[in-house]
């Protein structure tokens, strides 16, 4: 050990002797280890979930496709049904998923009148589901388009990808508009309530 290392060692040891460990150090370390374990477990579950969904999709493709000259051939209506199911799944999953992260935001915006906030969120949900439902019903095809082939081809694939992109765009625009409008509406409701109270007080004074 060099002289410098010895001096550093002595200084650190001297400091360590004077320092009292925090009384909750052990429990904090324990919680931190548990949190880390919990995060890893959640990540594993997420990976398993994605794998299960991919497996389900692959199984349906396997069940509904035939091999024709080394190519996988699927009837046009099968892809249409898969895409429609995916759209319904996206609409049902993304709504609550986004709401989970927006709860604190909505609570902050409507802190003056939480009951109005709850009604607003409920009504916004109904609006979203009506729009998603309308979009899915407008875009579903019961008859093969004239430029589609009997089996799935690039044109149909392009259309189905566009449908999924369309619903993502609608969800994005609606939630973006909600993020911008919600504080304005929250403020407006709160001012309205205060204005009503002031008018009532003025009437009582007169």
């Amino acid at each position: 050990m060099t002289a410098l290392e010895q001096r550093l060692h002595d200084a650190l040891m001297e400091g360590a002797v004077r320092t009292e460990p925090a009384p909750d150090l052990f429990s904090r370390v324990k919680i931190s280890i548990e949190e880390d374990r919990w995060r890893r477990r959640r990540l594993q579950r997420r990976i398993w979930l994605v794998a299960a969904l991919v497996g389900a999709l692959a199984s349906i493709v396997y069940a509904t496709s035939t091999y024709d000259n080394g190519r996988l051939a699927m009837q046009w209506w099968v892809l249409e049904a898969i895409a429609t199911t995916m759209l319904i799944g996206l609409a049902l999953w993304l709504g609550p998923f986004i709401k989970r992260f927006g709860r604190a935001y909505a609570a902050d915006v409507f802190r003056a009148n939480p009951a109005t906030g709850k009604s607003f969120i409920l009504l916004a949900d109904i609006v979203y589901y009506l729009i998603f439902g309308a979009y899915i019903l407008f875009t579903v095809r019961f008859q093969r388009e004239s430029n589609w082939s009997e089996t799935v081809g690039p044109r149909q694939l392009q259309w189905e990808v566009g449908r999924i992109g369309g619903i993502l765009l609608i969800i994005g625009i609606l939630h973006g508009a909600n993020i911008v409008l919600m504080p304005l509406l929250g403020r407006l409701f709160s001012l309205n309530r205060r204005l009503d109270a002031r008018i009532r007080d003025d009437d009582l004074d007169v």
């Binding site: 919680i31 548990e34 949190e35 919990w38 959640r42 579950r45 398993w48 979930l49 299960a52 969904l53 497996g55 389900a56 999709l57 199984s59 349906i60 493709v61 396997y62 069940a63 509904t64 035939t66 989970r100």
Partner: protein
């Protein structure tokens, strides 16, 4: 530590309904389809005999459909179980 009461509260009746459906319906039916489809494609077996009798003539196409949808049901059941049995929000310190 999670107690059974908080587990009940977290899952709610819909969560329990999903888990019961997964383990009593979707998973066994899916596995049954998979085994039935495989056995039928091989010319029959115990499961096929018990279900449709001795004579069975299932083409490879049909057995693939049965196996495929059975597998899909198993995967969907696993996904539903993973979603419902995981507490996505809670942290140990919470």
């Amino acid at each position: 530590m999670t107690t059974s009461t908080s587990e009940d509260e977290r899952l709610g009746w819909e969560g329990w309904a999903v888990l019961i459906l997964v383990f009593t319906q979707a998973l066994p039916i899916g596995l049954y389809f998979v085994l039935f489809g495989i056995e039928a494609s091989l010319g029959g077996g115990g499961l096929v005999r018990r279900t449709v009798g001795d004579e069975v003539a299932v083409s490879l196409e049909t057995s693939r459909v049965i196996v495929g949808f059975g597998l899909a049901l198993v995967f969907v059941a696993l996904a539903a179980w993973l979603v419902r049995s995981t507490d996505w929000d809670q942290t140990p310190s919470a």
